[in-house]
């Protein structure tokens, strides 16, 4: 009975643990996507302004 209850607890840890890991890493991935997108946009704008300056 104890073995079964410990095994059930372990399955609970497995479910919550894997969900938690995916959640954390998924959130990190999304944050990095967002930061990279903002950064690339800012860089593109800077390059455009530099280009405009050179042309004028």
């Amino acid at each position: 009975m104890f073995l079964l209850s410990t095994f059930t607890d372990s399955l609970n840890i497995m479910g919550t643990g894997m969900l938690g890991i995916f959640f954390v890493l998924g959130a990190i991935a999304l944050a990095i996507y967002a930061v990279s997108a903002i950064d690339h946009k800012a860089q593109a704008k800077k390059e455009q302004e530099q280009q405009a300056e050179e042309n004028s």
């Binding site: 073995l3 410990t6 643990g17 938690g20 959640f23 954390v24 890493l25 998924g26 999304l30 944050a31």
Partner: protein, 377 residues
């Protein structure tokens, strides 16, 4: 005369077994070059702590005076108190890692997550074999394929099996080039292994993003799993030292001298838990088997996740990339590249495999933190 023979007369057969275990670890380190930085000090330390009345452990002298032993002192200070050594080692590891390939391709984070499945599978197997939940969790963390995380989790949970866990974790990490190919070939077809992945030229990662990355990871992991902050924070602090480009001296020191000193001492210190009474038990054999199962399930978890994604994705992912999500860096990435090229000489997966492998570094410490989080309540 008696005093000269006391040591020889009081040795036990279990201690003799430990001399052989120590010798084996030293042989593996030198002859086979399996994780020599850890296995050699652990092997030598195993011999030191198992000599009768060894002076490296605290001993009671005549007049009720306790003589301190250096390995016991190192253990109490370096691991017993706040798990200092494994956590500090992570600063060096973070300083060594280039997270650029992962930042360029953030979806690879998910493969790192999937490849931690072995930790929890091994935990469940351990409970079925009669270990209590804390010991099962300490054994399961072998699947993190990360020595410092294994040592830290088993220490915090108060496991009696830290010695075998550390030996098994480091040994199997070194055996990844043998374990993973066998498992990958069992669960993938030739056609799947030959899948080419499109190399999309991505914009280089800016310095700003590289600096923000460790801060973002620390904040997110820290809020969800506060018990992981010790490891994640150290890893990310080391990485910030590397990426800020204004502390090159500190970064160099963290990568080389600092890491070497901690590694040298950690191996000897872990040997404190390799005393015969703790190590020569049938549970050690079970831990070896469960540890192997952990690595096998890690590989299965990563590969099956990639196959699952392929059901919904037009651009097929080579499922071997999933196997690279294990934290054994860079061996796992090299294994995947080697298997891919063996099927098709033009199929190079190293870039994607390295991204997944590097994400496994973060995923494994987050997994360790999640495990500790459960036992906080």
């Amino acid at each position: 005369m008696q005093i000269l023979l006391e040591g020889f007369l009081s040795v036990t057969w279990q201690q003799i077994v430990m001399y052989c275990v120590g010798g084996l670890l030293i042989w593996l380190a030198i002859k086979k070059q399996l994780e020599p930085a850890l296995l050699l000090p652990m092997g030598f330390g195993a011999i030191l702590v198992n000599l009768p009345n060894s002076g490296v452990l605290n001993q009671m002298m005549a007049g009720n005076i306790e003589a301190g032993g250096i390995i016991e002192w190192l253990y109490n200070v370096g691991i017993g108190a706040a798990e200092a050594m494994p956590i500090l080692l992570f600063i060096g590891i973070g300083a060594m890692i280039d997270f650029g390939p992962l930042i360029e391709n953030p979806k690879m984070f998910l493969f790192g997550a999937a490849a931690q499945f072995g930790i929890f599978a091994a935990l469940s197997v351990a409970t079925l074999l009669g270990f209590d939940l804390k010991d099962a969790a300490s054994i399961g963390i072998i699947g993190a394929a990360d020595g410092p995380t294994s040592i830290l989790v088993s220490q915090v949970l108060g496991s009696n099996y830290m010695g075998p866990i550390a030996v098994v974790a480091y040994s199997y990490m070194a055996l990844v080039p043998i374990i993973q190919p066998a498992v990958i070939k069992m669960i993938t077809t030739k056609k799947e292994r030959a899948i080419h992945m499109e190399h999309v030229a991505s914009k280089p990662v800016s310095r700003t993003t590289r600096i923000l990355f460790p801060i973002i990871v620390t904040l997110i992991a820290g809020f969800v799993a506060p018990m992981s902050i010790g490891l994640v924070g150290s890893l990310m602090f080391g990485n910030l030292l590397r990426e800020c480009k204004v502390l090159d001296n500190l970064s160099e020191t963290a990568q080389h001298e600092f890491t070497n000193i901690i590694t040298l001492l950690l191996g000897l210190t872990v040997a404190f838990n390799m005393k015969a009474a703790q190590f020569v038990t049938w549970q050690t054999l079970l831990i070896m088997l469960i540890g192997l199962a952990a690595f096998v399930f890690d590989t299965i978890g990563g590969v099956m996740f990639a196959k699952l994604l392929n059901l919904f994705s037009r651009k097929k992912i080579n499922p071997m990339i999933g196997a690279a999500g294990i934290s054994a860096f860079p061996m796992s990435a090299r294994v995947v590249e080697k298997l891919a090229v063996a099927e098709d000489k033009t199929n190079h997966l190293l870039m994607e495999a390295v991204s997944a492998n590097v994400s496994g570094q973060i995923a494994s410490v987050v997994a360790g933190g999640m495990i500790l989080q459960f036992f906080m309540h």
